[in-house]
């Protein structure tokens, strides 16, 4: 089984139209695959979908529903509601920091890749930033699918060795007095940063507060917006 898998993977890049030399041992096979599998990802993915539908393994309507969920039902607007509630309601904030799963579930943002949540709080003295150096772990129900830069080798490699440099590159300047805590998501715990509440937001409604909460502020690579600013 291992051989089957490795053989497929060895040719996957070539089949994907990627400029990579196939391994010598499988050169003939790779050439064969290049002809057998359409190089255009659109065609290859359509072919796979048709096969899985024909085999009864997937239902097209379910795929439509999943794409809709990824595009419209999850995303950083959900996380922003969590943050705004925490800013507006000290009891909620206490629950969120003590038991993130329970507190986030109160707002209904549960589901795949949000099963084990931990919320870390930014303060004037501590700045938290989240990364996944091994793959692309990210809290889907509250933040949606991760952006390309979060999944990039550039971010994943440097966030742990040079967090201050990365933050500066992304527009977050921290004084030397501030302690930086990097959270490498090496297991199934998913981290959400509770950003600092901006000055001048006293008395604002939760809706207005939520509009100040950016995706990046919940990863730790940005600050929440000042009132009147635009994302």
């Amino acid at each position: 089984m291992q051989t089957t898998r490795r053989d497929f993977l060895a040719t996957a890049g070539a089949a994907a139209g990627v400029a990579a030399a196939p391994s010598t041992a499988h050169a003939d096979e790779a050439d064969h695959d290049r002809q057998a599998v359409p190089s255009d990802p659109t065609l290859r993915v359509k072919a796979l979908e048709s096969l899985l539908v024909e085999k009864g393994l997937v239902d097209r309507a379910a795929l439509d529903a999943l794409v809709d969920l990824f595009e419209h039902k999850i995303g950083p607007r959900n996380g922003a509601r969590v943050v705004a509630r925490a800013w507006a309601d000290p009891d909620y904030k206490r629950r969120l920091l003590a038991d993130a799963n329970g507190a986030i579930a109160e707002l209904g943002y549960t589901g795949q890749q949000g099963e084990h949540m931990v919320v870390v709080e930014n303060t004037p003295g501590v700045h938290n930033v989240v990364v996944c150096t091994l793959c692309s772990c990210y809290p889907w129900p509250t933040l949606g699918l991760p952006p390309v830069w979060y999944k990039s080798a550039a971010y994943r490699s440097r966030a742990v060795i040079d967090p201050r440099g990365v933050l500066k590159e992304l527009g977050v300047e921290l004084s030397e007095d501030v302690e930086v805590r990097v959270w490498d998501s090496t297991a199934e715990i998913r981290y959400l940063v509770l950003p600092e509440r901006p000055a001048g937001t006293e008395g604002m409604t939760e809706d207005a507060l939520a509009a100040l909460v950016t995706r990046d502020s919940m990863i730790g690579t940005g600050h929440a917006l000042a009132p009147g600013a635009r994302a």
């Binding site: 898998r5 890049g13 057998a36 390309v148 297991a187």
Partner: protein, 219 residues
């Protein structure tokens, strides 16, 4: 596996390039790949750990140049081959092998919300003894398994402090090989930036990793 997926601490990958107003998917096929990954996962023929391991097995030179969703496509097919859900001939021809019975029922559109809500928790309600306690100083093992592990290279043979006991979780190193879940305590362990990167790093900063009992020894 000491593979190219394990990039923590590597250098020279260039600038980070945020994309303003980035769409969730950049092409329709990306969304279909993601949705197929979910819908096929609903059969529970393989676990998240198997899926990560499959993507790690993509040969390194290709892994570095394939797009994210190309890797998820390749990994999905590899997992389905392993689980005997499809054959290589079927993938190449795009047609089911003659006479193969249809597997039914797949995840339906009506079933998506419940499937989503339920998630796939990795905690296990078993009586595993915690080998370490919060506040304890620990050292990570110097291990180099040629297979899946979630102990990154940059954090091996390093001393840190247990900051939190998350409870009992599935152990990925065995689960990815389908050798069992081996549930054990998972901890948040804090490492000083200088312990990881030397004296040029800030004395104030730290990196937290989530690490299982089997990765740790008392320091």
């Amino acid at each position: 596996m000491n593979g190219v997926h394990d990039v923590g601490g590597m250098q020279d990958f260039g600038p980070i390039r945020p994309e303003p107003n980035e769409p969730v998917f950049h092409a329709t096929w990306e969304g279909r790949v993601m949705a197929m990954n979910m819908a096929v996962a609903a059969w529970r023929k393989f676990a998240t750990d198997n899926r990560r391991y499959a993507r790690e097995l993509i040969p390194p030179a290709q892994q570095l140049v394939m797009s994210y969703y190309e890797k998820w496509y390749a990994g999905l097919v590899a997992n389905m081959l392993d689980a005997k859900m499809v054959t290589r001939d079927e993938i190449e021809s795009g047609k089911p092998a003659p006479g193969t019975p249809r597997l039914t029922p797949p995840l339906s559109a009506a079933g998506v919300p419940a499937f989503w809500e339920k998630g796939a928790p990795k905690t296990r309600d078993v009586d595993a003894k915690a080998r370490f306690r919060v506040g304890q100083r620990v050292r990570t093992l110097n291990i180099n398994p040629p297979t899946h592990t979630r102990l990154p290279r940059y954090a091996r043979d390093k001393a840190g402090i247990v900051e939190r006991d998350h409870g009992v979780y599935v152990f990925p190193d065995t689960n990815a090989l389908s050798l069992g879940e081996k549930p054990q305590h998972l901890y948040s362990v804090r490492f000083g930036a200088r312990e990881l990167w030397g004296d040029a790093a800030s004395a104030r900063d730290s990196v937290f990793l989530d690490l299982w009992d089997d990765y740790l020894e008392p320091a």
